[in-house]
């Protein structure tokens, strides 16, 4: 019983701040110390952190394993690209609003169908629906740009900050801090949500669906709302990602990308709050440096995933927590 107990311990406010404040300070100060390329790399990591955070609301807290979260990331990304293409929008704030609206619509629709089912049906249904979006992105190539995708120029932040002074500088400074602020907001928001009465209801549903029904919780309603919140976070991440990448392609809707989201969450540890974030950041670095190593990226991910599930199911954060707890027990006071 020590792992869940440790997770509970971590929830007290003092403990949270103990970790959160130093990390926040480091993230704020880092661009002054590392080079521009590294800062941009870290931005990618934080963005994937937001995506994984959203994903884990469903997995870690509601007990639903989605294999189709690429759909919402892609919706966010394509909303931005389409707003550029058809509406000539350049404001980042409008991009975010558009991405949220798009994500809400798609998750409400997909979620309505998916959350009536659990386990394997839920999983494959989410996979199937994301593949539908992926194939639509190809079929309607005159809208989505097909395999070439759609380009997105540097956006205008807060109506005033532009990339005129150099794209790399913009991305590694102004845009980094913009992403960072949104990252902090998302983390805080998700923290409140999982610790709210709603969050407790989700965990109850995860632990014992029947019992939850019998304390008066209409299970599928809650799952639906969780699905939407989860998808919107991931959609937001997609919107933040496009300007950084400069381009969005159908790959971002493909199931292999969903697999990466699953992988990074399991890597970090899906039974903890911070696990998905840690996993996303670590995975981002792994991918950047390992992709030059081998063409067989899926193979590597698959093997590591199997090893993780076989021997380190609590991921990085869970395992670290256990080791820390053991070290503290062995230390003379």
């Amino acid at each position: 019983m020590s792992a869940p107990a440790a997770a509970l311990e971590a929830r007290s406010p003092a403990r949270v701040l103990f970790w959160a404040v130093p990390v926040a300070i480091v993230l704020l100060v880092l661009p002054l110390v590392i080079d521009q390329y590294q800062t941009i790399l870290l931005s990618y990591g934080l963005i994937m952190g937001i995506a994984a955070l959203g994903f884990n609301l469903l997995l870690g807290y509601t007990g639903l394993l989605s294999f189709g979260h690429s759909a919402y990331f892609g919706v966010g990304a394509y909303m931005v690209a389409l707003m550029v293409k058809y509406l000539g929008v350049a404001s980042m704030e409008l991009f975010l609003v558009g991405a949220i609206i798009g994500s809400v619509v798609v998750t409400a629709l997909f979620g309505f169908v998916c959350v009536r089912y659990t386990r394997i049906f839920f999983g494959i249904l989410t996979l199937a629906l994301s593949q539908v979006l992926w194939s639509l992105a190809f079929k309607f190539f005159w809208v989505t740009g097909g395999t070439d995708g759609l380009r997105v120029p540097t956006p205008i932040l807060l109506g005033v900050v532009t990339g005129k002074g150099g794209k790399i500088y913009f991305l590694s400074h102004a845009y980094y801090y913009y992403v960072l602020v949104i990252f902090f907001v998302c983390v805080a928001l998700m923290w409140v949500i999982v610790n709210s009465p709603f969050g407790k209801a989700l965990q109850a549903i995860r632990d014992n669906e029947t019992r939850a029904e019998f304390v008066g919780i209409q299970v599928w309603h809650y799952r639906w709302v969780a699905f939407m919140v989860s998808g919107v976070f991931t959609g937001l991440a997609g919107a933040l990602w496009v300007p950084l990448n400069g381009l969005t392609t159908p790959e971002v809707l493909h199931w292999t990308f969903s697999g990466e989201i699953v992988f990074m969450t399991v890597l970090g540890g899906f039974r903890s709050f911070a696990g998905p974030i840690v996993g996303a950041v670590v995975f981002n670095y792994l991918k950047t440096y390992a992709v030059g190593f081998t063409v067989y990226w899926q193979l590597l991910l698959g093997v590591v995933l199997v090893i993780l599930v076989l021997s380190l199911p609590t991921g990085i954060v869970g395992t670290a927590g256990r080791l820390l707890a053991r070290a503290r027990r062995n230390q003379p006071t």
């Binding site: 509970l8 969050g199 407790k200 209801a201 109850a204 014992n208 029947t210 029904e213 008066g216």
Partner: protein
């Protein structure tokens, strides 16, 4: 008028009539024991009335309202709650969390996303009081999965009680518990329900428990009600003795 009444209630499993045209009645503020050998239909009856299973025929009337077609959610709002034979709790949450969840749910507060659960003092206060009523205040911060069988059984009832029902179905609240612990558990449960004027229908196999704690006994056999009356009467009923009391412990 009874608190709960079923009329010609039917439930089939394939060809078997698990519940066969049953007219079951629970009055206000009464403690009733539901007895019968395995397969008599007791748990199925409770499952149909509480909403876990759909009835195949007949009606269920609660507080004068036909609830036969209503969802579990509505039945709970109306005032029916239950515990389970195989203890059904949220094992990864604390005992306090388990009870608090019932309170949040009852108050409609589980819809609240943007507020930390800790800030609602009234709910936690009430949850503590409920735990205290059931003698579990010492276990408040422990994970439900880590409690002893007797504590889990009591917690299961406490979670149902926290919904402030008018009618509580308890499915074998002392099963799996050592004989020593049975009386204290039943004492707590019955004193709580009697104090609040809640009606309780308790499925039980232990005849000592049945005869010590119930106002009325309903005996079932092969899907129908064999006998229905006060303990003294049931004790002398030949059919009941032949089918049930002699065979079970």
């Amino acid at each position: 008028m009874s608190l709960l009444e079923t009329r010609d209630l039917v439930k089939y499993f394939g060809d078997t009539h698990a519940v066969d045209h049953v007219n079951f009645r629970v009055g206000e503020a009464e403690v009733l024991a539901l007895i019968g050998s395995n397969g008599a239909g007791k748990t199925t009856l409770v499952n149909v009335i509480s909403g876990l299973l759909r009835a195949d025929g007949g009606t269920i009337v609660f507080k004068g309202v036909d609830v036969t077609a209503q969802s579990v959610h509505h039945r709970i709002k109306a005032g029916i709650a239950r515990s389970f034979q195989l203890v059904n709790l949220f094992d990864q949450l604390t005992a306090l969390d388990n009870v608090a969840l019932s309170v949040f749910s009852r108050e409609g507060k589980t819809r609240v996303l943007m507020r930390l659960a800790e800030t609602d003092r009234a709910v936690w206060q009430e949850a503590q009081e409920v735990l205290h009523l059931f003698g579990l205040e010492g276990q408040a911060r422990m994970l439900a999965g880590g409690l002893s069988q007797g504590e889990r059984k009591l917690l299961d009832v406490a979670v149902a009680y926290a919904l402030r029902p008018r009618l509580l179905f308890l499915d074998e609240p002392t099963s799996g518990v050592s004989t020593r612990e049975k009386a204290p558990i039943m004492d707590i449960i019955t004193s709580v329900v009697r104090q609040e004027g809640i009606s309780a229908a308790i499925i039980e196999h232990d005849m000592d428990v049945v005869f010590s704690y119930s106002d009325r006994i309903v005996a079932m056999h092969q899907g129908t009600i064999l006998a229905d009356g006060p303990p003294e009467e049931i004790r002398r009923n030949e059919q009941v003795i032949a089918n049930l009391i002699g065979a079970t412990s």
